[in-house]
Amino acid sequence: MNDDFLYRARPPLRRDFADQLYERVRRLPWWMGVWGGYRSRKLTIRNAFLALLIVAVAACTYAVTTPRNVHVDGFGWVQEHRGQRTLYAADSWNSSAPSVPSSPPSLVSVEVADEMLDGRLKFPTWVPEGYQLVNSGLRPPLIPSHWDTLVTWRREGSADGQGDLILYLRSQGIPPLEGHEESYVEAPRHRWEEVHFRNVTAILVKGHFDWRSMPPLEEWQDGKFVIRWSDDLGYSLHWHEDGIAYLLETYDRGLLPQELIKIAESFR
């Protein structure tokens, strides 16, 4: 069994199913699912009042909680805009910011996430020259088992993914720094070292798990799984601060570990 087998074992898709579904979906009225739920309700004074109340509450909530756009301007988070539900790089300085679906997952701004975490959230005030913020969709910290938020910077001129610097954050169900399969830092001991900054102890991991190809069966040794690591896949830094787990990860081989630590030092 290998990658190729797992792709080949997929059952074929029936042509008539594909065609029938396409026709069925196209025949669905456009308003279905939008107004369908409301059509069966009677128009009464009570229902009309409730509808108005809901609209008023929604409008007030939107006005009060509308998130802002923030972006890194070389050395810090300096720009804010009100008026959009999700947070992306501002169009004025980066028109190639990737689109993120409005739903799901629902995203909130840096500030809203910070408020949800009682002001404990920290972000870098410095990233190396040439890096641009390309994605800062933050998931609300509601899913305990997942890394909650995701911010990506990309080195100018790099291929998609190759020059990325990614910040993951997690506020619930925080795993230990080492030796836990959820924590990512499942690296062999000789692959990581402790580093210190701002009274924080962090784990600097050299290389990454090499997922580019599946290893042979022999990597199971004495019934124990042995992870294959690659040195040429960049560094990552993992630490805890004020009850939040931070994982700064890069596949950019041009980014030095000292720079990664300097970014972490700049978190405010």
């Binding site: 074929p12 029936r14 699912g33 689109s99 890394w147 399969e181 199971w220 799984f225």
Partner: protein
Amino acid sequence: MEEHQWEELYRTLLPRVFHYFSYRVGSIPQAEDLTATTFEKAWRSRWRFRGDEDGFARWVFGIARHVAADYFRKDGHVTLALEKARLVDEHPSPEEYAQTKDDFERLTILLQKLSVRERELIALKYGAGMTNRAIAEVTGLSESNVGTILHRSVNRLRLLWKEKE
């Protein structure tokens, strides 16, 4: 979204979504039902989507994951249902068809031995043909974590497959 865009995306994504469900639930009829539900939901709420083609794929798979979660929650399907589904396709030869059917059924039994999360990642990777980066974006796991879990899961499947032989 224009209709011609929808048609193109539908043709591209339909097999991927169907294969995702077939690996998740292990049943062809159920996979077809869930695929239909997903695309109906996507069509009804397509006005909510804004973005490019990649974004649309992530959005559709977000819907698909919710549909799968509903399926397992509402119907109490905690294990995969292996059904002797009749596979129909115009292209494969009878031999190829028989081999694929046999492989899929064996694989479905082995997938039951994985955790829900491992199965989901296998379905996204090998069913839907997504990259580790795309899976990380859809699931909220880190890219490295996705790679590690997939690596471990495939090795486990490989061992189980060997034991069966």
